[in-house]
Each structure stands twice: as structure tokens, then as C-alpha cells.
Symmetry: C2
Subunit: 117 residues, 2 copies
Amino acid sequence: MVQPELCPRFEQAVGMLSRRWNALIIFSLLGESQRFCTMTESIGISNRLLSERLKELEKDGIVTRNVYPETPVRIEYSLTEKGRALAPVMLEIQKWSEEWLPVQDTAAEDEQESPVR
Amino acid sequence: MVQPELCPRFEQAVGMLSRRWNALIIFSLLGESQRFCTMTESIGISNRLLSERLKELEKDGIVTRNVYPETPVRIEYSLTEKGRALAPVMLEIQKWSEEWLPVQDTAAEDEQESPVR
DNA sequence: CCCTCTCAGTTACGAATTGTAACCATCATA
DNA sequence: TATGATGGTTACAATTCGTAACTGAGAGGG
């Protein structure tokens, strides 16, 4: 709540991107538009938060909600131009992660060559 | 929590960068090493959280804690090579924010026109 | 010896955010 | 009328955050 000394717009951007799940939501929409239930599965976010985040991101002009009145109703979320403009940010995060983070698997799946038991 | 299908390393990177304050902490260390009290002031973070975050970031190999036993003791935090490698990410966030976020002052004006279209 | 000052944190605790699971509304078909 | 799919809401417990007060080490003053 204190006055920020850094660039206010940078802080605003970071505030949005740092909101939990937002970066993953945006990343998953970079490829193609997605439906609600697809996103909850691929991202691993709950309905409640996905709904909340999408509303916020729509309000921020980053995602668009497209309703197709088929049956059952199909609703697809996609990025606006402002949202797609975040692609370079995501790309740099990806590059960094590939260069600096270990491949580490989350265990419990293949523990073949590990002598530890 | 379900394990998502996106790239695990990307998700790990995003998890770290999305932790509240982390991006601002890293950004503020990109210039030069900083002392604890300087950071709380420039970032606007509380002692408690700064302390917590710096410990986590140190553990992640992103920041280093340097103790100078002067009087009173001086402790400076700086980025490791892994931490400095995040500079391009920060730069892209900054570029995006400058292109897409209004110059906003305290929440009064909402109806700015988009800069580039 | 006791008090005070600075820096660098810790601790305590109420407030806000998140995760989990159950529930709701609409449309369509059986 | 019942059931199933989609796209959410609601309720509530668990986690995290923000605020403010406190601790500890070392130097110096009285």
C-alpha cells in the first residue's frame, strides 16, 4: 500500500501477471481459444478461480468471451490483441525455464533407476 | 491439486515468478545489489514478506545474501547468474506495460484510448 | 552497568485469498 | 420425469498476506 518508486506501469503489469494462475491462463490461450472445461483440466485450476480470473482478465481487456449458442452451449475464451502481445513475455519465461530449471519429474511415476527405495 | 499437462518447467518458472512480490524483488535487484531496508522502501513490501521471499529465492538459487560485518551490520542481496538471466523476462514485461497500459494516475481515469492499434 | 541507536529480521494475529466440494441453471434428449 | 453435458456459483475450511509490535547483535554514551 506504500507508494511505489518503480515504474507504475511495470508494477501494474506485474500485479496482473503475478495474480495466481493468470500467466498459465494466458499461456494456454496463446495457441488457440479454449473452452472453460478444457482449461480447468489442462491448467489444473478449480472452476471457482478460473471463473474469477477470466472475468478479471476480460475486464482488463486481455481475454474475450465468445458464446456459441449450440447445444450444449459452447463458450470459448480467447486472447485480445493486448493479450496476445504478452507472447514475448511467455516466450522469455519459457526460454529461461528451459535453460535454468532441471527436468525433474515429480516422482511417483517412474522410479526405475533410482537405487533409493 | 491435479498435475497440469503444460510444460512442467514453464509451470515451475511461472510458479516462482507469480509468487507475490517476487518479480518486483528480482526487478529491483537487476540494477545493483540492495540492502534489506532499501528494498522494503522501494518495493513497498513488509519486512515479514521480504524476509520470507528472499529466503525462498536464495534457496532457488536466484539471489545471494552477502554479509558485511561492519557496524551496524550491512547485508546486501544480489542476483545470481540464474537470477540475472531473468532480465529478458522483465524487459518484455516492461515493454508490454509501456505499450499497453495507460499512464494511469490513481484510479480516476479509465477511458484512455489504447496506444497502438 | 544500563540505556539507546541502527540494521536486519521475527512473531502474533486479524484480514484477505485460495482450494475443495457440493450445488445450480439451461438446454436437449430418452 | 429423469438424465447428462456445459458453465458456472456458493459455502466453508485452509493457506497466505498485511500490519504492527517485538527481538537480537553490536556500538556508543552516561
